[in-house]
């Protein structure tokens, strides 16, 4: 995908903000890669706590990278309005940087205080056996 983009850029001959846009696209694609990791982890991992690791971490960095990428891509010139827009997008990034670990912690704590949820692998085997018997 990125290779095609490079060729398009090279053909179009637009060079005013070319390196900045290229950096933005690189960040966006990197964010997609990390989101792919989070999504696969969300499916493959065995229990809620490990899925929380995948979702919490992959979500934070991929959202931050994608927003930063779009902040760079939408820069049209170096005027004040353009800079303010970039700073606004970076504000969203900062907010996600603060809020996302908190959300992971909150969900983790809510799950750990719920007695239904097994904590480690050994506990998980025990409780799944129990569940099978009950059914």
């Amino acid at each position: 995908m990125s290779m095609i983009d490079f060729q398009v850029i090279a053909a179009s001959g637009e060079v005013s903000l070319f390196p900045l846009h290229l950096l933005g696209m690189f960040f966006g694609s990197l964010g997609l890669v990390f989101f792919l990791g989070a999504a696969v982890g969300l499916i493959r991992f065995p229990d809620f706590y490990t899925r929380m690791h995948a979702a919490g971490k992959g979500d934070t960095l991929s959202t931050m990278l994608m927003l930063t990428g779009f902040g760079l891509v939408t820069m049209e010139d170096f005027s004040l309005g353009s800079w303010l827009l970039f700073v606004k997008i970076m504000g969203v990034v900062l907010f996600i940087f603060i809020a996302s670990p908190t959300v992971s912690h909150v969900l983790m704590r809510a799950a750990s205080e719920d007695d239904e949820m097994p904590l480690t692998e050994a506990d998980g085997k025990k409780s799944s056996n129990k569940g099978k018997k009950r059914n």
Partner: protein, 167 residues
């Protein structure tokens, strides 16, 4: 002094949000910043004993702390990616809960430590009760890494340098 600092921070926020520099909108900004300062100035900067110089020093050392934590976030994502994508990574996964006690005193330092632990590879803070942290980790290796206390020392350098001198 603190309400003034809060007001200035909020006004900076307003200017970034609004992006209009005529007198009418800036006046609206001043009024709404005054209202918000009145409503919730006690929320920001909970610990009011520290002086201005101390705060500026903290802000500067926090800015130096940021690149390190961002690099840790990248490493955490690579770790998750490895676990999700490869078979070996999946097999080495053995989740467990680690308990340790911290020497940090203030609430905000504990908050920064907890969120830093959440952002570093393979660990999520599960519960804080008093000084005791309960952390969920992905493997034995990460547990040993956590118990060396590197993150704690980094946070203590920013917020409580005196606690490092004692030990």
């Amino acid at each position: 002094m603190y309400p003034v600092a809060v007001f200035l921070l909020l006004f900076l926020n307003w200017v970034v949000l609004s992006g209009k520099f005529d007198a009418f909108h800036l006046g609206l900004g001043v009024v709404s910043c005054l209202i918000v300062t009145y409503l919730s100035h006690d929320l920001l900067y909970h610990d009011r004993k520290k002086g201005l110089e101390r705060r500026l020093l903290e802000a500067w050392s926090f800015l130096r702390y940021l690149p390190w934590i961002i690099w840790e976030v990248v490493k955490a994502n690579l770790h998750v990616f490895k676990l999700a994508m490869t078979k070996e990574g999946y097999e080495e996964m053995s989740p467990r809960v680690v308990t340790f006690e911290t020497y940090l005193k203030t609430d905000f330092a504990k908050f920064v430590l907890a969120n830093s632990i959440t952002l570093t590879p393979g660990t999520i803070t599960m519960l804080i009760r008093g000084d005791v942290f309960h952390v969920h980790t992905m493997s034995q290796f990460l547990e040993d890494d956590l118990l060396t206390g590197a993150i704690e020392r980094k946070v203590a350098e920013v917020f409580e340098p005196e606690s490092l001198k004692k030990t």
